[in-house]
Symmetry: C2
């Protein structure tokens, strides 16, 4: 059970393909896929992080459909996944809420396509036995230096063959949660 684990999907500050810091747009399918992966492995919360009010409204509309609208009865499995989702303006708010929920400070673990030496799934499982964790995923071309440079611990990057590191964030989330769940 990963109930002490929360996932934060960050839309600001992230990099775009030209290495500029931007606020990315919320992608509907990111919410669906990552919520379903979180639900599968028993993750406790899925924070969608964006400071952009219009984007927060988009997320709230999607949630309304799946939690209370037609989607809730048409597809109850999706409803139970979306119950994990919560919108927050920034990463600090996500950490505060997750810490408050567990009455102790949540440890932030960031993810990156360039950190082969980071924590693995077993490390995270051991940490979870002691404290709440917040696993941070970046959209766009990844988390901006403003987050990366804050000396948080990092989950070891998913290494494939050669130097192709362009996994969708949805796929990376699924793989990392599987690794934590199975302790590998």
């Amino acid at each position: 059970m990963l109930s002490r684990l929360a996932v934060a999907l960050v839309h600001y500050p992230v990099l775009n393909r030209r290495n500029e810091v931007v606020a990315s747009a919320v992608t509907n399918l990111d919410l669906h896929d990552i919520a379903r992966s979180c639900r599968t492995f028993g993750v406790g919360r899925f924070f969608v992080v964006t400071p952009v009010k219009e984007q927060q409204k988009v997320v709230e509309q999607i949630l309304e459909h799946w939690l209370h609208g037609y989607g809730s009865t048409h597809n109850p499995d999706r409803c139970s996944a979306f119950q994990l989702l919560e919108t927050v303006a920034d990463l600090e708010t996500a950490r505060e809420r997750w810490s408050k929920k567990h009455s102790r400070p949540a440890r932030i673990i960031i993810t990156s396509a360039k950190s082969p030496q980071g924590l693995n799934g077993q490390d995270c499982q051991q940490l979870l036995a002691e404290e709440p964790l917040l696993l941070v995923l970046g959209t766009g071309s990844g988390l901006a230096p403003e987050i990366i440079d804050r000396s948080f611990e990092t989950f070891q990057s998913i290494q494939g063959v050669a130097d192709y590191n362009h996994l969708p964030v949805r796929a990376a989330a699924a793989i990392i949660l599987d690794r934590i769940f199975t302790g590998r």
Copy 2:
């Protein structure tokens, strides 16, 4: 390297939510995400299986954009992922082509959300040392009995908590490829 492994994403025959056998529509993002996961782990080929001519055309148009059109120069990483993709009318054609490519019969491994006792990633890695494999994923609510009942070997289903087994096929593909690549 998983160069002897091919992935087949089946759109017919699959089940819909009412357990009826249908041809599902091709989902653009399935192609993107699974092609990128295949490319990450060095998978040799990604077969998109649909007998529906109009759907085959949709796939060809997407490929044209990413292999030869604007997408090929705008996003070369995506181009290199889509180079793995090939459209076929049925599973047997995929198997024939993959067998021919390796001059020996390709073994079919199907996937299911209901097969906890199947092969794991290490088993598949060992098989790949000897022979080409074709890993078969179903869209919709999964592969139809017409495929499931043919006594192919099965990859062990991804078990999360309790009985929630509604991972997106994109997430399941990513997790299974990671497990085979890392031999777990």
